[in-house]
């Protein structure tokens, strides 16, 4: 909007400069090189020319006075448009009242060039500010400017009639001129309004996109913080707590039983190295977004592979069926569920084998099975094995969790999404 107004002002100045150039060119060049002959009508028209020159000079100062545009702000262009319409309308009016004023410079060929170009065709110049009003202010601006130009044009007709000039020529062309004065500005105004509406819609869409981007960024940050806190709690907290307890034991044993203290120190060293490994693994996890980078199947496969290497377990990984697209929220939740399930196996199961299966038949199913010591789901507090978190996470994404376990018979955890969410 601001650009359009600024450019409309520039165009208006350009038109006025063009108009002045014509006048100066005629006076400066043709008047010197060829004979100048003013008709008697031209002298009679002098008061009218003076009347025309006053608003023309005022408009020129208004358009080119430095700093005026900044001081007047949004009122500048409307005033400039009104003044320009007034000047060009008056100029065409002079031609009606005293047609002879048009011939001021006579060429050797006998032809003539108008000094003020005060012809009825000045209505074309009037059209320019009307079109600019349409471009800058839309349909309403176009209607106002065209109406002003039309009213001035009709007033000129009245003045012409008062001066006793026959109105036939004026009235014959009047409908055409009024039509021209309205049609072009209205077309421009309509196009400007359409463009402005599209611009507003685009701005709105851009704001929404920026909002979405900020929310996604916020979500990603929050998720990483939560993951960091959970990893710290599940890995470093356990290791460091164990180190502290063992060091206290060393402190207690070093005087009474130095051999036991040395054995305990060995344990501390082992525990510290294990903690270091866990910390490195946590850092490795923090530096990657496996589901986004590898897809759900690839991310879980990597998880199982690293788990097997770390714990020395026999692992079996399989994907069944044709993969179906999952929303990130469901894919991420399944991946985190697999992480939690493997962490449970590592902490509690004392297993030798681990089988993980991701099936895309009849929905999406993640199955984690170990041959460890198992537990009795009826008597054991589910919270102790982190099952509450797994169930809660599953419920949030419309997944069902089943746990099949018995003492010394291993554990099978199944998470099933019957109907993956659609985007």
């Amino acid at each position: 909007m601001t650009h359009i107004v600024r450019n409309a002002t520039r165009v208006l100045r350009g038109v006025f400069i063009f108009r002045l150039f014509i006048a100066v060119f005629v006076i400066g060049v043709f008047a010197v090189r060829w004979s100048v002959r003013a008709t008697p009508e031209a002298f009679e028209a002098t008061p009218f020319v003076g009347l025309l020159m006053l608003p023309a000079l005022a408009t020129m100062f208004f358009l080119f006075l430095p700093g005026l545009e900044e001081r007047m702000g949004r009122f500048y262009l409307p005033v400039a448009l009104v003044m320009t319409i007034l000047v060009f309308s008056l100029e065409s009016g002079v031609a009606y009242i005293r047609p002879g004023v048009r011939i001021l410079v006579t060429l050797p060929s006998g032809g003539g060039i108008s000094l003020f170009w005060a012809s009825t065709e000045m209505i074309l110049f009037t059209l320019i500010p009307c079109v600019l009003a349409g471009a800058a202010y839309g349909l309403r601006g176009a209607v106002k400017a065209a109406t002003l130009a039309t009213v001035l044009h009709l007033l000129l007709g009245v003045v012409t009639w008062l001066y006793g000039v026959p109105l036939v020529g004026f009235l014959v062309l009047l409908p055409l001129r009024i039509a021209v004065l309205y049609v072009f500005p209205l077309i421009t105004g309509y196009l400007a309004d359409t463009w402005r509406q599209e611009h507003v819609a685009l701005e709105k869409a851009n704001r929404q996109l920026r909002g979405y981007a900020a929310t996604v960024e916020h979500l990603a940050t929050s998720r990483e913080r939560v993951r960091l806190a959970r990893d710290m709690h599940d890995t470093l907290a356990h290791s460091l707590s164990a180190v502290v307890v063992q060091l206290e034991a060393v402190n207690a044993l070093q005087e009474t039983d130095p051999a036991a203290a040395r054995a305990q120190l060995d344990k501390v060293g082992w525990q510290a190295r294990a903690g270091l490994d866990e910390a490195r693994r946590a850092i490795l996890n923090l530096r990657s977004a496996p589901v986004e980078e590898l897809g759900l199947a690839g991310a879980i496969e990597q998880l199982v592979e690293r788990f097997g290497q770390r714990n020395g377990l026999l692992t079996d990984w399989a994907v069944e069926g044709e993969p179906v697209p999952l929303l990130p929220v469901q894919a991420n939740a399944l991946y985190r569920t697999a992480e939690e399930a493997l962490a449970n196996v590592e902490r509690h199961a004392e297993a030798n084998r681990l089988a993980v299966r991701l099936s895309y038949t009849d929905g999406v199913t993640l199955c984690v099975q170990d041959d460890g010591q198992g537990f009795d789901p009826v008597t054991v507090d589910p919270a102790r094995y982190g099952l509450v978190g797994i169930r809660e996470r599953a419920a949030l994404i419309d997944a069902q969790v089943t746990v099949d376990s018995a003492p010394n018979e291993g554990t099978t955890l199944t998470v099933h999404i019957a109907e993956p969410w659609e985007d």
Partner: protein, 101 residues
């Protein structure tokens, strides 16, 4: 406007609820992620505040953002920073040391 506060921490809820009332909102509580999701869908609150210490808070955030019924509701994630267990603070300091390993 209803302001849904999802936290298991009573003290944090009291503080957030007081803040909501001062700002002219009606606080409503859910003390776990599932209740939070159900209330968010049923009540269409004007704002959802989630305690990031809550279990499954990350999946809850993603779910609220993904579901049509709740995707347009503004989400605010909070942590009771100064009230985190001392051990966690100590561990966070350890993380910086681990980064240099």
């Amino acid at each position: 406007m209803i302001r849904l506060i999802i936290t298991a921490d009573d003290e944090l809820y009291d503080r957030l609820a007081h803040r909501a009332q001062v700002e002219g909102d009606t606080p409503q509580r859910a003390d776990n992620a599932l209740d939070g999701l159900e209330q968010a869908i049923a009540e269409s609150p004007g704002l959802i505040v989630i305690d990031m210490a809550l279990r499954s808070a990350d999946t809850l955030l993603e779910t609220l953002h993904s579901r049509r019924e709740t995707t347009s509701i503004p989400l605010l994630a909070v942590t009771a920073g100064g009230r985190l267990p001392f051990e966690l603070h100590r561990l966070c300091a350890s993380v910086l040391e681990v980064e240099t390993l």
